[in-house]
């Protein structure tokens, strides 16, 4: 693949997009997992799917325009979905997790309607669902790069606040941190990263790239910073190896990447067991 990367632009796009996503998805994933919000990523990815389906429908039946690009439409839906989740979480104060299935089913419902209106599946949709090595364009890569930088800078600047908010929300509020604002910014980052990841891992598997590396990392890391470092390491390993396997075996990369993440998780669990005995 190494020589091929220099030859084919589409491989470069896929490879570098993968590398970027391998950083940001686990990075956000750490905060998502420790706050027990793992399902939020799932809910948002299904809303993103609705956006993609809507754009494919518009493209097919009506007009195609830069604004209706599936990537941007997906992102817009994802951000809108994150706002709804926040709204619902404050409506159902004592059942905050209810917001997630509500948004998740709305996302699937809308997607199914849009897909059937557009006369069912096509290969394009398939690549959004499961990822694709060949579907990433140069402009997608730039967008992902832009999102990645934005996410890293924001997390860096809000690290203290996010840490305290994740660890002890009451204490965060009592020390005067604008919990709502920080949380709001965070959830928008999640929405953006989900949209950014879908080209490579696919909508259905985005959330696993955010949670599986973290699940492995938490088993062995000492402290929060180390958890972040290991998560990114594991995420990166799954993405790069996954892309290579996907390319040579002609598989959808979403599957290979996620299965590698599962494999890493298993190895970590076994290693930990073995070391203890």
């Amino acid at each position: 693949m190494v020589e091929a990367i220099f030859q084919y632009e589409f491989l470069q796009n896929a490879f570098f997009t993968g590398v970027l996503i391998g950083i940001v998805a686990p990075l956000l994933g750490v905060f998502i997992v420790v706050r027990r919000l793992s399902l939020i990523a799932d809910a948002l990815s299904h809303v993103t799917l609705a956006g993609i389906a809507a754009s494919l429908l518009l493209e097919k039946k009506f007009i195609s325009s830069f604004l209706f690009n599936p990537f941007y439409m997906g992102m817009a839906f994802s951000v809108a979905g994150s706002l709804f989740i926040e709204k619902l979480r404050s409506v159902y104060k004592h059942y905050q997790e209810l917001a997630i299935p509500i948004i998740l089913s709305s996302g699937i419902g809308l997607s199914v309607i849009f897909i059937s209106m557009a006369d069912g599946f096509n290969t394009d949709l398939f690549s959004y669902l499961f990822g694709s090595v060949s579907a990433v364009s140069r402009s997608d890569l730039w967008t992902v790069l832009f999102i990645t930088l934005g996410v890293i800078v924001t997390i860096f600047l809000l690290y203290k606040e996010l840490f305290l908010l994740s660890f002890d929300e009451e204490h965060a509020v009592a020390s005067g941190i604008k919990a709502k604002t920080v949380h709001f910014i965070f959830i928008i980052l999640v929405a953006l990263v989900i949209a950014a990841s879908m080209r490579i891992v696919g909508i259905l598997l985005v959330s696993s790239l955010m949670t599986l590396p973290v699940a492995a990392s938490i088993r062995i890391a000492r402290g929060f910073k180390q958890t972040i470092v290991f998560s990114i390491l594991f995420g990166e390993l799954s993405v790069i190896l996954g892309l290579i396997f996907a390319y040579y075996l002609d598989l959808a990369p979403g599957g290979t990447i996620v299965m590698l993440a599962v494999l890493i998780l298993l190895l970590v669990i076994i290693w930990k067991k073995w070391r203890r005995s």
């Binding site: 660890f167 009451e170 204490h171 009592a174 020390s175 938490i218």
Partner: protein, 254 residues
Amino acid sequence: MMNEQEIVLKIENLSFRYEKENVLEDINLSVPKGSFLGLVGPNGSGKSTLLKCILGLLKPQTGTIYLFGTPISEFKDWHRIGFVSQKANSFNTGFPATVYEVVASGLTSKLGMFRFLSKKHRQAVIDAIEAVGMKPFINRNIGELSGGQQQRVFIARAIVSHPDLLILDEPTVGVDVHHVQNFYNMLDELNRHLGITLLLVTHDIGTITEKVTHVACLNKHLHFHGKAQEFAQLDSKELSQFYGHHLHVLSHDH
């Protein structure tokens, strides 16, 4: 401004209810700088609720709270207040953070947005950990500590920012006798030498009268508020009136 009579905390006509019934009614209280106030009262008397109002976590339906002379609605210097909550160990015990990281998070609001720990801050974190005797555990994950050890870490987190007012809601629950003694010595030190004002909720009426300067006795209303000596001189009949039932824990000599 730095005179001894500066009022750190002032509460006027405060009433609070979660649902229909008032949990706190018509509370008036003022805490001068440098004092050590023990807040006592039976279970469900509203002690934690009152603290949450003071910390701005709950909004009372009537009345006003002043922190350092500023009405709470306009108060911004939250880093001047340290807080150890009653359920400090209700956090997610699997959380992957070291003792150091948890204590350092106590500096979050003091630092403010977009600021990072300096060398001086790092030393303050280490000092606070040392003060509660947790130095040997500094790089342990918080979930791998016993409940009492965790509690001591949370005390370190509360004092690391050198607050002017330290609020503690039954901080010694689950901490062993030896460390409770150390803990009270530490509070003494903070109170006398650094002039930190303390507000401590406790059920340990026996020891508290020896340590604190003032006592407030809460049971929906504020039944008593005065000097510790005056409180110690109350007879058990008066006390049980405040408590609404008879009290056995008053004296420690059997």
